[in-house]
């Protein structure tokens, strides 16, 4: 099995399918389609970019018991990174960890076992997780639902990521009065006004010096339309990236509003809900049992500060977790995945799927 996994992973890595590269996305999906000729699939298109969903059901359905999700796009890498190689039990290359090798495992496992399962199982393969998430997003928008999704995300190293912070972008605008810079008493500087407006906010949300599970606020951009340096700027816009803790979900925007003066305008863009799945969720329990039986280890749950496509499932009321093999160097020049862990990953997921099959007759247990 190991050889098949590594061989497919290498083939996927050698295609430089950087997010939003449509021809490369098409190319990588052609490779996958050759692997899964006997299964029906649905193609989706979002922003011109394809994503696909394989199903083990002959009749078309949107509701699945389990969905496996592995994104086939990567962040840009060096030329050498698209030439995968093996060294000391590790497979190196762009996307080895994030998430092509795990994707190869899911594809091969789906190929082997999906037709033997009585319940609906899907394999979801988007190509823009690194940038927009509209691949997974548009499938969910079109009604794809599941009881439980496993995202082959990196960084989880045989842990289950069941919680991640939510995210909002807040846009703050100040208005001043234009005047010639030599006569500042005739005008009002919108950048100065922004400084005073943000001051109390920065005191309440200082930049943490160590990791925190509390809400963080980062100023990511400040700009003005003013281009004449001898003019008092009449406008200023600041963008804040807010990562919020669960308790702040409903109040964070109001709280920020309350820290700002009245003559400052605020808009907020919702990006991601806080994502949280009970660590005792039945499917997590099954995955825990599968992990223990295959590698003889406990399966810890963990929290992540960043968001991923898993949070998109939260937004439509579905449960999703991140669970992937062992490796390091995602988004880095030295990205690798541990080959033994890929085989373990394969057998854990297989065990997980088969347990569900065994329990299918007593499905009440799962609900």
């Amino acid at each position: 099995m190991k050889n098949q996994i590594v061989s497919l992973a290498k083939e996927l890595i050698s295609i430089p399918s950087v997010s939003n590269d449509i021809p490369k996305a098409v190319e990588i999906f052609e490779v996958i389609k050759k692997q899964l000729p006997e299964y029906p699939y649905t193609s989706f298109v979002s922003r011109g970019l394809p994503s696909i969903l394989y199903s083990n059901q002959t009749k078309k359905t949107k509701n699945f018991k389990i969905i496996f999700n592995a994104h086939m796009d990567v962040v840009p890498g060096t030329k050498e990174q698209y030439q995968p190689y093996i060294k000391d039990g590790r497979l190196y290359g762009r996307g080895a960890l994030d998430t092509k090798a795990a994707g190869a495992v899911m594809i091969l496992l789906f190929k082997e076992i999906a037709h033997k399962l009585s319940y609906p199982l899907a394999l979801q393969l988007p190509a823009d997780e690194e940038t927009h998430g509209t691949g997974t997003g548009c499938q969910l928008e079109q009604g794809i639902r599941t009881e439980f999704a496993i995202m082959a995300e990196c960084n989880s190293n045989f842990q289950v990521t069941n919680q991640s912070k939510g995210r909002k972008v807040v846009i703050i605008k100040t208005k001043g009065n234009v005047a010639h810079a030599a006569y500042p008493w005739h005008g009002q500087n919108a950048i100065e006004k922004m400084y005073r407006a943000l001051q109390p906010l920065m005191e309440v949300y200082p930049i943490p010096t160590v990791e925190t599970y509390e809400t963080t606020v980062s100023i990511t951009k400040i700009e003005t339309e003013n281009n004449a340096l001898n003019r008092i700027p009449y406008d200023c816009t600041a963008y804040l990236d807010i990562r919020f803790a669960q308790k702040d979900e409903d109040i964070i925007v109001e709280k920020i509003r309350s820290l700002l003066p009245d003559d400052v305008s605020l808009e907020s863009e919702h990006k991601h809900y806080y994502h949280h799945i009970d660590a005792n969720n039945n499917y997590i329990s099954l995955l825990r049992r599968a992990t223990t039986s295959i590698i003889g280890k406990e399966l810890p749950v963990r929290f992540t500060h960043a968001t991923s496509d898993a949070t998109l499932y939260s937004q439509v009321g579905c449960k999703a977790i991140e669970f992937g093999p062992i490796g390091e160097g995602a988004h880095n020049t030295n990205e690798w995945v541990d080959i033994q862990s890929l085989e373990d990953y394969y057998y854990i997921l297989k065990n997980f799927l088969l347990q569900i099959e065994a329990n299918a007759v007593t499905s009440a247990y799962l609900v």
Binding site: Y183, E192, I219, N226, P233
Partner: protein
């Protein structure tokens, strides 16, 4: 005389000679040439920007005793502003105050009496003051134009004699930090936040005065970062400051700002213009005081200007110069006007001044 000045001013206002409208700028210089037919002049061109120097000598010369400085360009305005309008003793229109009426006065006065004057009188006509006259006044000076004393008809003086102007520094502050994913702000160092703090300190050191005040002022004109993604802690940020300083602070203001900068913020000087100061005791300035007293029966004020103008270029060559123009208001606004009675006074004071010099 007043009638002629107003007619020529109206003609000038109707030409939309904003500094970037080169054909209109050429057009207005042609109109001035028509008025001054018969006088010798030198044409200058720098990067396609023309300017003229008229003298009362039979052959063109670049060395003048007294030089009148006139800019005939304006800042961009609405169509309506290029239709001159007389109302309640005021003449409205783009450039009425800044400084086409003063220009028309100087041109007509030159035309009337230049031939009677025993010394070299120059009349300098440029069309790039509003975008800082590197290609007009500065170019002429670099080509050898000089004078013992320069009077610019700049607005803002209101029949006062402006002998001091603030200088200008434009500086860029560049803050560097460490980029990080915005979900992990503790892994980065936010350059924008650092800059934000420093700007706060600069603002506290140089608060904006509530009323006109002869002191340095700082405008934070722009702030930006090269970061374009909202989920990233920015690794750089820059701010542009427009600093207006008085001559006494020439060496102090930048040192003070430098002392407020942490290690991760550097300062780059982008533009510098000197502060200007022609002494009150300058004999030509005293002549102008005297002429003004003769005509208005009052002592004129000696005043300061908060902004710079083309006379800064004379300063850089140690040529004494002042700003002296008629009464008005609203330069660079939709409601620009010049007081018509003050134009008559202006004309008579300048005439008296020129004739009083031997």
């Amino acid at each position: 005389m007043n009638h002629k000045i107003i007619e020529l001013t109206k003609k000038f206002i109707a030409i939309p000679s904003d500094s970037n409208n080169r054909s209109a700028c050429l057009h207005i210089l042609e109109e001035a040439k028509k008025e001054l037919e018969g006088f010798s002049f030198t044409s200058f061109v720098k990067d396609d920007i023309p300017s003229l120097l008229y003298t009362n000598t039979s052959n063109p010369t670049k060395s003048c005793k007294i030089l009148f400085n006139v800019h005939l360009d304006v800042v961009p305005g609405s169509k309506k502003q290029f239709i001159p309008l007389e109302k309640d003793g005021k003449l409205y229109g783009s450039g009425a105050y800044d400084m086409k009426a003063a220009g028309a006065t100087m041109i007509l006065l030159f035309k009337e009496i230049a031939h009677k004057i025993p010394y070299t009188l120059g009349l300098q006509l440029v069309t790039d003051e509003e975008v800082i006259g590197y290609k007009g006044v500065n170019h002429q000076i670099s080509e050898g134009v000089s004078a013992e004393f320069v009077i610019s008809g700049e607005c803002g003086s209101n029949l006062r004699i402006v002998n001091q102007l603030r200088g200008l520094y434009v500086v860029k502050l560049l803050a560097s930090g460490v980029a990080a994913h915005a979900a992990y702000p503790w892994l980065g160092s936010n350059a924008l936040l650092k800059l934000h703090k420093t700007i706060g300190e600069i603002m506290n050191q140089y608060p904006v005065p509530q009323a006109p005040s002869w002191q340095p002022t700082i405008n934070i004109a722009k702030i930006e970062t090269s970061n374009i993604t909202h989920n990233k802690v920015p690794h750089d940020a820059s701010a542009y400051l427009d600093i207006r300083y008085i001559q006494e602070d020439t060496d102090i203001v930048l040192k003070k700002i430098q002392s407020l900068l942490p290690d991760e913020i550097t300062m780059e000087i982008i533009k510098t213009m000197p502060a200007h100061h022609t002494k009150k005791t300058n004999p030509f300035l005293q002549r102008l005081v005297h002429a003004s007293r003769e005509i208005t029966h009052k002592d004129p004020q000696i005043a300061q200007s908060y902004a710079g103008s083309d006379i800064i270029f004379f300063s850089m060559k140690n040529i004494d110069s002042i700003e002296f123009g008629p009464v008005g208001d609203g330069q660079h606004s939709d409601e620009e006007w010049v007081d018509i009675q003050s134009l008559e006074d202006y004309y008579r004071i300048l005439k008296h001044f020129l004739l009083s010099i031997k």
